[in-house]
């Protein structure tokens, strides 16, 4: 049959496939993990800069005063909060806590909204 591989297609359009709150939380867990990993070298650089000398400490402070760095710090605060909350949610599920559907939906919402709440608090401190 010539129709096999040449014409064989698959419906796989993520924009058309519904994502329940658990799936959204899982996707965000991945994204925040990538963000945190990408942020590590910058955080180490800033720490190193702040510990070098009094001048370099002032440079680090000046850098943190920049709006773009503050924005990045707020983004990282969200990533850290979300990743930590989602990780705890996973650990609890692994010991049979909150793993039924209704509880899992609630905890997924809690993770997403909790991370936003932490981000707002951090933003209020930084801005």
């Amino acid at each position: 049959m010539t129709r096999t591989k040449r014409h064989r297609i698959v419906f796989f359009d993520l924009r058309r496939i519904g994502m329940p709150v658990g799936a959204v939380t899982s996707i965000l867990h991945r994204i925040t993990g990538i963000l945190l990993a990408a942020g590590v070298p910058w955080a180490v650089y800033l720490l190193d800069l702040s510990l070098g000398s009094s001048q370099s400490y002032l440079r680090a402070v000046a850098l943190l005063d920049h709006w773009a760095v503050r924005g990045a710090a707020i983004l990282m605060a969200w990533a850290l909060a979300h990743h930590a909350f989602a990780g705890v949610r996973h650990l609890l599920a692994d010991i049979d806590v909150g793993s039924r559907l209704q509880a899992a939906r609630r905890s997924a919402w809690l993770v997403n909204l909790g991370a936003v709440a932490v981000t707002i608090l951090v933003a209020r401190v930084l801005l």
């Binding site: 129709r3 014409h7 064989r8 297609i9 698959v10 419906f11 796989f12 058309r16 496939i17 519904g18 994502m19 329940p20 658990g22 799936a23 899982s26 996973h90 599920a93 692994d94 049979d96 793993s99 039924r100 559907l101 899992a104």
Partner: protein, 231 residues
């Protein structure tokens, strides 16, 4: 009622497309399958599977407005219009809403979905107590419609390595069956980074199961059994 349906004929089309239909459902046409059956009388090229028309055979699994389900037990009332119907995501399309389920059943067969018991057969049958029988509730009802596996991101990325929620629910069904004697081998077979542990507890499977079953919970129980067995 407006519908937008995924169409693809491999003998004629180079690409799939969405075809719009409009009809007024009769009072007796309460389920989505009823509407599809009538559409078929208007356009006999429209292709979909169906058999029992009451949620028992699992043939008419499809993606309904982004969510997998069975057309025969999906009420027409309450569906957002236009009702978008597509084949099960990630499964190769044979034609229109009909998909190739070979890979799905390959994974299902890989868990050896039958009782394994080499002990001498009793005269009549292997009797279970009511409590032992109750262990199978919430598991034996699976109709293998593939709604769960087709909506599972772990299955999307690793269909050949990850057993998938339906196969794992069935695996648990045999692990907890008091008449089965291969529980340890079954656990050993699943103790693999991909076959079982690719599940990320996203729970799309449990969200969409048209029978209200919980494959994610079965997977979790298998994991807990593995931990207990290793202690």
């Amino acid at each position: 009622m407006r519908l937008s349906i995924f169409r693809f004929d491999p003998d004629r089309d180079r690409k799939p497309y969405m075809q719009d239909y409009e009809l007024v459902p009769e009072p007796s046409e309460r389920m989505l399958l009823d509407v599809l059956v009538r559409l078929k009388t208007v356009d006999d090229s429209l292709t979909f599977r169906r058999s029992c028309r009451e949620g028992v055979c699992g043939s008419d699994a499809m993606n309904i407005n982004g969510r997998n389900g069975l057309a025969c037990i999906t009420p027409v009332s309450g569906l957002k219009e236009p009702v978008e119907l597509r084949p099960l995501p990630s499964f190769p399309v044979i034609r229109d809403l009909v998909v190739d389920m070979s890979q799905f059943f390959k994974q299902y067969h890989s868990i050896r979905p039958y009782l394994i018991n080499d002990e001498p057969e009793p005269d009549k049958e292997r009797v279970q107590s009511p409590e032992e029988r109750a262990q199978l509730d919430g598991l034996y009802e699976c109709i293998l419609c593939a709604c769960c596996t087709s909506q599972c991101p772990s299955s999307w990325w690793n269909p050949e390595k990850f057993v998938g929620p339906a196969g794992l629910l069935q695996a648990y069904r045999f692990i907890v069956d008091s008449r089965d004697r291969a529980g340890a081998q079954r656990l050993d077979d699943l103790n693999d980074p991909f076959r079982l542990f690719r599940c990320r507890t996203i729970m799309n499977c449990t969200e969409v199961c048209p029978r209200g079953l919980s494959p994610s919970r079965a997977i979790e129980k298998i994991r807990l059994m593995m931990v207990k067995a290793s202690l």
